[in-house]
């Protein structure tokens, strides 16, 4: 059993208006030192398979086609024993 943590974030060139809105709110809290906020997605996926190579290949495909929109986003993941 594996626990896979997938992080999906916008590519650097992509505008993130939601992140900008959060940054404004943080400034309203009084923290002017925060220069940038960008929002991403985090997935926790439990896989019932002991072949780590197979799992990685599967997560790559799932991330490429579903979890991330590769036009705008990139992804990375960590695998650990569940």
């Amino acid at each position: 059993m594996y626990l896979v943590k997938v992080y999906v974030t916008y590519k650097e060139s992509i505008l993130d208006p939601k992140g900008e809105a959060v940054k404004k709110a943080v400034h309203q809290m009084g923290y002017e030192t925060i220069e940038s906020v960008r929002i991403g997605k985090y997935f926790e996926i439990v896989v019932n398979d002991n072949d780590s190579a197979k799992v990685e290949a599967m997560i790559d495909e799932v991330s490429d086609k579903l979890l991330a929109n590769v036009t705008m986003e990139t992804y990375r993941y960590e695998i650990e024993e569940a």
Binding site: I14, L15, P17, K18, K41, L66, N69, T71
Partner: protein, 225 residues
């Protein structure tokens, strides 16, 4: 001519599409459930606006994997006309039938208003009833309509005249790259746009510029026979 109006869980502009092509235009049309995999009976496929799968994960990201979409992609590759509006446009980009992606509107606001557009390419099967560079007004209603693609793709779209509709100069409602409101694929049989022509087919609704898009499709069908 027989139109298929695909219906996903959460689609809500399917009725408007059906009304536009069937009641107003007078063509045959049928609602097609997202689980249906046979589209042989249809001459054109319409992908509606709305909130398919609740916009979960990303708009259109999950609809792309509905059983019917495999057939839609196949049919598109065979040259069958496919038209998507709003969420339909988002689904077509997620499915890879059109390049690029639709992002959250630049100002974050949901834009719901009459929008001035320019018909840049009137030589497609969807726009042959419009004049070149004609200015039209169609309603928009979206929060994720900002069109994005990388530089290479943008250059290709411009060079191939794949940009069919642009927001009128100075009136870009969502931050779309190069004011792009609607694009067609290289082969010219798949169109996606953010505005709603299906809501612009009767004067009682205040807009009529959308009817000619569906008339173009019907005319192209007749011409092709």
């Amino acid at each position: 001519m027989k139109f298929a109006v695909i219906v996903f869980p959460g689609s809500n502009c399917d009725l408007d599409l059906f009304e536009a092509v069937h009641t107003v235009l007078g063509e045959e049309a049928e609602y097609v459930d997202y689980r249906e995999t046979n589209l042989d009976a249809f001459d054109a496929i319409l992908v509606p606006g709305g909130f398919s799968y609740g916009d979960y994960l990303r708009c259109g990201a999950i609809a792309r994997f509905a059983p019917v979409m495999e057939t839609v992609v196949e049919k598109a590759k065979q040259g069958v006309p496919v038209f998507g509006t709003c969420n339909g446009f988002q689904i077509l980009t997620e499915a890879g039938l059109l390049p690029g992606a639709l992002q959250r509107n630049e100002g974050l606001h949901f834009r719901c208003k009459p929008q001035r557009l320019v018909v840049e390419n009137n030589e497609t099967i969807f726009t042959n009833q419009y004049q070149k560079n004609e200015e039209i007004v169609l309603p928009i209603a979206h929060a994720e309509g900002s069109y994005y693609c990388d530089e290479a793709t943008l250059a290709e779209l411009e060079a191939n005249h794949q940009i069919v509709f642009r927001y009128a100069d100075g009136e870009n409602p969502n931050g779309s790259l190069n004011n792009i409101a609607g694009i067609v694929n290289k082969e010219g049989n798949v169109l996606g746009m953010m505005p709603h022509p299906e809501r612009a087919v009767e004067s009682i609704l205040g807009f009529t510029d959308g009817l000619r898009l569906f008339q173009s499709m019907a005319q192209s069908f007749v011409n092709a026979k």
